[in-house]
Symmetry: C2
Subunit: 307 residues, 2 copies
Amino acid sequence: MAETVRLYEVVLRDGLQNEDAILPARAKIDIAHRLVQAGFKDIEVTSFVRPRWIPQLADAAEVVRGLPDAPDVRFWALVPNQVGLDRALEAGIGHVATFLSASETHNQKNVNRTVRESLEGLRRVVQTAKGEGLTVRSYISTVFGCEYEGPVPVERSLELATQLLDAGADEVALGDTTGMAHPAQVIDVLSRYVDAGIPLSRISLHFHDTRGTALANVWAAWTFGARSFDGSVSGVGGCPYAPGAAGNACTQDMLYMFDQMGVRTGVDLEAACEAGDQLEALLGRPLPGRYHRYWQGARQRARARTA
Amino acid sequence: MAETVRLYEVVLRDGLQNEDAILPARAKIDIAHRLVQAGFKDIEVTSFVRPRWIPQLADAAEVVRGLPDAPDVRFWALVPNQVGLDRALEAGIGHVATFLSASETHNQKNVNRTVRESLEGLRRVVQTAKGEGLTVRSYISTVFGCEYEGPVPVERSLELATQLLDAGADEVALGDTTGMAHPAQVIDVLSRYVDAGIPLSRISLHFHDTRGTALANVWAAWTFGARSFDGSVSGVGGCPYAPGAAGNACTQDMLYMFDQMGVRTGVDLEAACEAGDQLEALLGRPLPGRYHRYWQGARQRARARTA
């Protein structure tokens, strides 16, 4: 039987929150429909942070109301705290993601709290969410390095992961927020997690391609046994508080790699590229994903031949 | 003792031959000087193909005459055939590279000969070059797939590699000409070569990033034991006969990865980025390499802070 990999799509949240353009809710809902049709089963659609923090996602409730009726798809929303969770519950989303950083400086700049304060608050948010029957993911940012502090000891993120999973989180997403990770490090970090008793089945890898290493990191994690990866269609995204961060790991580049390896993703590469076309038109700038760019060129040449 | 990797820099040949802009010899010579100062020890500087085939490199002899006096650096030039080799010898280059394709269609389109005809001609070119005391590399294109023919059986490139090495070539460079390779395939191909008795020390990997897999392929090859990789500063380059091909594997992205892993490259990442800046200015377009883009952004922010 073919191996499978889980792709967790973040373009509507991590992607859009880092674009200058603010898309109308209708456009986001259209993209969500496309993503479902393309075969994505985990789609992070918005964030219930304060609207004035991230105006790009201020229409969170409206987006959630417009999501397709797809019982086999998990739609996720980011929640920063109890207030955000309340808004998410009211909107009726079934899957929420908390976030904090393994680096003190990054966490302070991101949410104006110490890591310890964030952890205490989020443990309660996780417990409440689980009590309400939601699925919970907990992002840990800057696991592989911090633009402000440099290297981040594995112990720091590992302690946070352990505590959040103990509090009831279903999975942790290890974030390379500023794209500093390299493949040997990825394997080292995952080994430490596994040695500490956290199974790979409860870990997703969230890479950014700032320095070009995202797909190499995905491959390294895959060889170690990781089977869940975050990606963004056509590589949209970054981190507004991390200077220089380029896009997320590009979904289509991962799809191409896994398709070629005979690993089942459940997602149609062509359909993902069509979603990328729509995003590119909406955002009004060429997007960084490599495969999408190749695909656009190939289509152009095919049209020229048949014209 | 730290491990080392060999980076073979192709921006002045594979990079420039795929750009619309034609740079003056003076600019190329300046770049060559910069590359030497940055620490590169293998630099492919030009091609002795017919000038009207690749007008971007029509000034081959002039470029070779202007190269810095650097006895510890190997300067390489591409030679298509005996006529090209004669021109290369006359110009006084010490290291030459032949090329042919493992795919019949690609070879026909590239040099208008069958693979068999190319092989016979190149065996003689290799022997002559070795007789003249030159070092010889033999490129094999489309090892990992062909845009026209699809998958290319490993046996085909393996037979060519074996014959070219038997004829006296010092190394073969396995080309993923159109960027179709994926990491699992890279390991599979290398295994087949090693099983056939070709040592990794005589193989260099020449990846293109068309579909975003270049650095993942480099990492995969590294884990298998390969220690020589071709790259292009800031990802300039492609293949004029392969539709859709984007740039070569980006040198700075590789440098970042190897630096972080503690692997010695001998090349200064910052100096490579400065060479990339110069190339970007000369070519008049943003270059695709990720690390270089990140580095430009970081520098801009640093200047804004101190302004």
